[in-house]
């Protein structure tokens, strides 16, 4: 039998088939390659976004951006006579001149405990005539260990016996505000607390002795949680604020700032923007990551507004290819300031 090679036609058909097949394989390989690339990119992105979410969740639980046991703790400093959110209470309490130590025990603020009752006048107004009388003299609150205050019209009555006195409640509120600022005050006091106390009358109080700072805002009177936070937002500044805060003194100012969000008129986007700029913690993940990895950051801002403690988290990532930024926003359950401080042992004597 003679050997026979492929005919030209066969060869051409074979080449054509081979070319088609090779084309398909190359296309498939390219697609596979693209898929691998995309899959890798997505996997990296997912891992980084996941890390961002975890970082945010960890932060709203741990408060490390505010007070890092392994790093900076500028919020434990004093700002003059006032404390910052993580200043040990023993320091600020003494500076505030309050005799009774902070007591946040389980039953300390219970309804049945008369010492926790607010005994003031809900109609007390800044600058108004005290026609309802001087509640400070009737046991509304007289500072523990201090002499009874003198009222211009009424004089100096004796301190009421402890069983009739609101001195304990006075000392708790009086000590907390300069210690922690409004966010901390609201965080520490029970949800049904009235933000007010009676002290010795002076230029900064009503005639009855209620500090003016407690009688301003939406209603010029001692306030409860909802009206106090109805138009006002109280936030808490991280230890490394991003903008507008240059040092401890400025941090202290920001800690005590209130942001108006009066909703009845006009856009207040600039106000909200300012609040976020000053109070948002921004954490860039993997700052020295490879250039082809997306840039991911986790941002946290903690506020109290309309009686709602919010831990607003944003995880943002920027594509290294397009430069486009995407964001995932969510709120989450976190530890309270009080819980964070207690875990650090900052409330002890």
């Amino acid at each position: 039998m003679t050997e026979r090679a492929f005919t030209l036609l066969e060869l051409m058909i074979a080449i054509a088939i081979g070319a088609v097949i090779a084309g398909m394989v190359i296309a498939a390989a390219r697609m596979a390659s693209d898929c691998v690339t995309a899959g890798n990119r997505l996997a990296i992105e997912n891992q980084l976004i996941g890390a961002g979410v975890l970082a945010a969740c960890d932060e709203i639980d741990s408060w490390k951006a505010y007070d890092d046991p392994d790093g900076g703790q500028p919020l434990r400093a004093m700002s003059g006579p006032r404390g910052l959110p993580f200043t040990p209470l023993a320091q600020t309490w003494a500076a505030a001149g309050v005799a009774a130590a902070w007591d946040g025990g389980e039953s300390a603020w219970s309804m049945h405990n008369p010492r926790a009752w607010w005994r003031g006048c809900m109609a007390e107004r800044a600058g108004s005539d005290p026609v309802n009388g001087f509640y400070g003299v009737s046991g509304a609150s007289v500072p523990i260990g201090e002499p009874a205050p003198t009222y211009a019209r009424y004089g100096t009555p004796p301190q009421p016996p402890p069983v009739l006195s609101g001195a304990w409640q006075h000392d708790m509120v009086r000590g907390l505000e300069p210690a922690l600022g409004m966010y901390g005050l609201i965080d520490y006091l029970p949800a049904n607390a009235i933000y007010g106390y009676y002290g010795a009358p002076n230029a900064w109080t009503t005639e009855g002795g209620v500090p003016h700072w407690m009688t301003v805002g939406a209603l010029p009177a001692p306030q409860a949680l909802y009206p106090a936070t109805y138009n006002d937002v109280f936030s808490i500044v991280p230890r490394n604020p991003a903008a507008g805060t240059g040092g401890p003194a400025d941090i202290a100012t920001t800690v005590r700032a209130r942001w108006q969000t009066w909703e009845g008129g006009g856009s207040l986007a600039a106000n909200v923007r300012d609040l976020i700029d000053r109070n948002e913690h921004r954490d860039v993940l993997m700052p020295i990551a490879p250039a082809h990895w997306p840039r991911v950051s986790a941002r946290i801002v903690r506020t109290i507004h309309k009686a709602y403690f919010t831990n607003a988290c944003t995880v943002a990532w920027t594509s290294p290819l397009t430069g486009a930024t995407s964001e995932l926003r969510f709120t989450g359950f976190g530890t309270t300031l009080r819980g964070a401080r207690q875990s650090r042992g900052l409330d002890g004597p």
Binding site: I21, M24, V25, A28, A29, M31, A32, C35, A38, G39, A43, N46, I49, V53, M111, P114, W117, W118, C121, M122, D129, V131, N132, G133, F134, V137, S138, G139, A140, Y154, G155, T156, P157, P160, P161, L164, A191, N192, A224, Y226, V233, T261, E263, G264, A269, V272, K306, A307, Y308, F309, T310, C313, V315, S326, E327, L328, F330, T331, G332, T336
Partner: protein, 667 residues
Amino acid sequence: MRRGFTLFEVAMSLVIATTAVVTAAMVFPTGVKAQQAARFRLYAASKAMEICERNACANVANPALDHEACAPWDVGYTYRSQSSDLETKVSGHRFGMHPLPVTIARRLDSDEDEIQRLLDDGGYLYYFAATGGGSWREDTVPQSPPDDAQRVIVGVQGYAQNNAVNAFPLKAWPYSVPYPSPPTFMIHGTGDVAGPGGAPRGRCEFLPSAPAGLEAWQGGAGVSYLWEAVSQPGDADLVASRMVFTSKAGESADGLAYGYKPYFDAPSAESATRYLQAALWWCERLGAGALADFIAPSDATRPIEDFSRSSLPPHKQVLALRYLAHAGLTMTRWFPYAGGLDDGVAIPSALLAGQPSPELTLTHELIVFWHATSLHLAHRFAASYPYDWGAPRPLERAIMTDYPLFEYDLFAPPIGGTIAGSTTHADQWRLLTPQPVKNLGRSMSYPGFDIDNATWTIAGGGASGIWSQGDPTTGSGRTRFSLCAPFAASERCRQLVFWAVDWMSYEDAETAPSAPVDASKYPKWAPIQEWGTPWDFARMMNAAGSGPGWSPDTWVDHHLHTWRNPEKQLLYTRDMAGPDGVDGTGDDVGTGSDVTTDMVGNTDWSSFPKDQGAAPEPVRVFNGLYGADRNFNHRLDRGPLPRTTRLRAQTIGRWNYYDTRVHVQLR
């Protein structure tokens, strides 16, 4: 013989090899899909935490709405749309979750057809607001870059429960007042009150009628009356408490005015003394010597802490000390301690309505004692008697039990009647409580309406009041009350199911109508009359524009967190299909057009929201018939997919959560 492969064999081999390679290559996109699913699971996990956090922690108070009426169907606050279920609380314009249009949801396929079964059961799917949510006014939140999170949708599996009713619909208890304080005086409307002959007629009149014996004061602020004195007209003691507020001409032997109001009108030592005398008079009026231990305590250095020192019912002891302590404290404004209240100020007897008030020597010590005792009694009363409404709760120390538990009795026939201002019939379940409400009294808004004796028709015959347990004809009883009963964990467990689907790629993703809005989400006024004419239903819906400037007469965006269309902020105010209302006819609003001015958004009190009113157009807007800017980019978006296309929704996660039956707020 040696023989090579034939061409056919070679070709077949190549085809097989190619198939294998291509098949292997086809596996790679699966990896991409897996990564995409992982991304969506990440979104879903974040959003699951968010909506559970909102459900538990957000304050959804609606402080600018009527919460009481003369019939349970005339206020929406107790309706299902305001329940404490997660999807009703969180699905609102401020809390970041909106119902997906049902027309779109019906196009989605899913494993075991779970989505369609959920819709069949009356549930909705929800998508997440592009701006997130929270306590901020929506338009102040910085614009969010686009992301894929809106592709994640969620539904709630498991049936909602028969929750606690938010409030008693005929009287929005608890009423709270400061302790101590004078009697509660109510301003019944403001503005135009000048009627014929000086009668208290005007925009706000009493419905169904002014209560008998109403002691009203007419001034620039409106008609004021004393709540305690009209709350329980059958109790002569409470009616007589009007004297603590003000005496009437001819009632005092010396011709002077006694009580809190004359003191407030002209504050002085003398008028303060007469206020105190009136408070003492009422204490004596409650029963000669019944409050002797309070008026002249044997030991004023210790407060009286319970109700054992008087034979009077607890709520009257609370009220007596509330007035007495307040009147006593006003004296500190006029009498100094040294040389005054230190030694004691003589309070002579005053003859009021033929009865003398007790004489006493008022001291600083006694004032402090009254104040402390007032607080003790008020706090003890609030904590011990949650179902005794004889005395208001202390404003300065609100507690959980200020809010009594109510539950609809779903196993007894409802009561029925007519919706105010209309001829439309309505029914509502009757209420169960764990124990009867004592001293229910009249409401502040409707002091002429006798709640205790009001009845409505029962479907099937008969009549009944608002309570179910007292109805012997149905056999219904308190045994049906289940809010305090033990329960298994499974009874409170519901499930969040998340799917991923690119529903925004539909051509009508932003022009599809909102999911149907429950009619009770419309913040309608409670019944009211004006110049003798009750408002009709449309007027109660409009509640603005035609009447005198009785503010607030428009809806207050930031007070209506769980009312209105949940997509309110995003709703379009005109048809994006153009004037002819037909898509694709040339007059459509162009895709990508700026629609900033075509959205309901937020308005202040000076303007009238475009979704408010009984006219057809605002009703269309309220119901979201024109669609909404669902990705909040202020542009009209139309996706490439025709509405005839079905999409497959990929299940990406399930989370169980605890479904409460009462409104709670954690922090």
